[in-house]
Symmetry: none
Subunit: 218 residues, 2 copies
DNA sequence: AAACGAATATGACTTTCGTCATAACCGATC
DNA sequence: GATCGGTTATGACGAAAGTCATATTCGTTT
């Protein structure tokens, strides 16, 4: 994805030195970042988010008045298109899980290099995500626990569809475009379209939206 | 953490060219990797894991005889100290979640650079983890869903839409085309399209199929 | 071995979708 | 009563979806 405008970045961090330092480094890092005035606590982060509508907020977690997690919740409820990247020194399970549940798109530790922070900002803008390796490990552990023991990994195959057709149906239900499906399955776009046509006919629907609805609803 | 011995790496990948290529690149990358003979399918991966006791297995998912996920499960049950790093071209939710549940410590896509792969291998050896940015995003989404709503992560699917927009959303969810919607509401097709565009943006989705899915699911 | 059908794969072509610029309308505010 | 923000409305145009004809591969049947 290419953006014509600059990425508007807000830093919420109570220590002025760190706040200014990161802002300076980031603006040196690349000229496509527009650094907004820094927020010194959670309350101010909310206020500045409302006022400046940042694309990305670098959010510290331990801040006066309103902490970073509460600020994240309130900002995302009001401005859901904002991307919050947590940047903190602490990495307890509780903090990590709460931050992610609050809607943080990435969780970095303060020992991250500035180019990693910049790369993560670009990633979240593109709908991706970034986790420090040790944070990722904790998330994966909890993830496994939450999912519980798998019994049968097999998806119920939709009757009448071939294996290939089912693969494609699954991706359609995830909202993928034909191009994306083609890339994922190493098929030409034309091939995917043809599969879609076949599936549409078999399921007696007119277009992929109806198909997705039917597949979800049964 | 510093290790005195080399890191013993096993590659399980059915395409010989890719297998040899990664092995060569990794051994050039750093002299602390000891590359074991490559496994061409899941069955062989299990056999070689038993024989060579690797520290890390780079595991492809789509392989003949036994797939990568089944191989991961069986290897980790027998040799739980092994670290499995998934390296694949596919990134469907199912594959990712199953791989993680099976015990994979990291999940990389094949477009990763060789130094990223090397860094991930070192990370998992140190009890950390590595996820490609797009994979991390999927994990975090599912993670949030599994933990359940903490506050009210309500997306502005119906709320935040005007009355007219909601009428149109309802018809989209019924699988209607823009022409059909226009006839029903006595609007020009162009007008309907414009409404659809607005709704897509408000709901933060890329196309009407995703929109229908989100409207049904939430 | 030849014939056959089902599954898989592809590209040319038409239709539908989605974006963008633009404008009329209306209630609120100054 | 002029201005402003939000809703409603429209069409031109490039992008994506869907149709159709066609080809290959592979297991099964004759």
């Amino acid at each position: 994805m290419s953006r014509t405008e600059k990425v508007r970045v807000l830093i919420a961090e109570d220590q002025a030195l760190i706040r200014e330092g990161i802002a300076t480094l980031l603006s040196q890092q690349n000229d496509d970042f527009e650094m907004l005035p820094g927020a010194a606590d959670g309350e101010q982060a909310i206020e500045f988010a409302r006022r400046y509508r940042p694309d990305v907020i670098l959010m510290d977690l331990q801040m006066p008045r309103v902490d970073g997690i509460a600020a994240t919740q309130r900002i995302l409820r009001e401005l859901p298109q904002t991307h919050v990247v947590v940047l903190t020194t602490f990495e307890t399970n509780d903090l990590i899980f709460e931050a992610v549940s609050a809607g943080a798109k990435a969780y970095l530790l303060k020992d991250a290099r500035i180019d990693e922070i910049a790369a993560t900002i670009r990633a979240v803008i593109n709908g991706q995500s970034g986790l420090s390796p040790s944070v990722a490990a904790r998330i994966l552990d909890e993830f496994k626990r939450l999912r519980g023991p798998r019994v049968s990994a097999k998806l119920p195959v939709r009757d009448g569809l071939t294996a290939r057709e089912n693969e494609i149906l699954t991706l359609i239900v995830e909202g993928k475009s034909n191009t994306e499906i083609g890339e994922r399955l190493h098929l030409a776009e034309g091939t995917v379209k043809n599969y879609v046509s076949t599936i549409l006919e078999k399921c007696q629907v007119k277009n992929r939206t109806e198909l997705a609805i039917k597949a979800i609803t049964y």
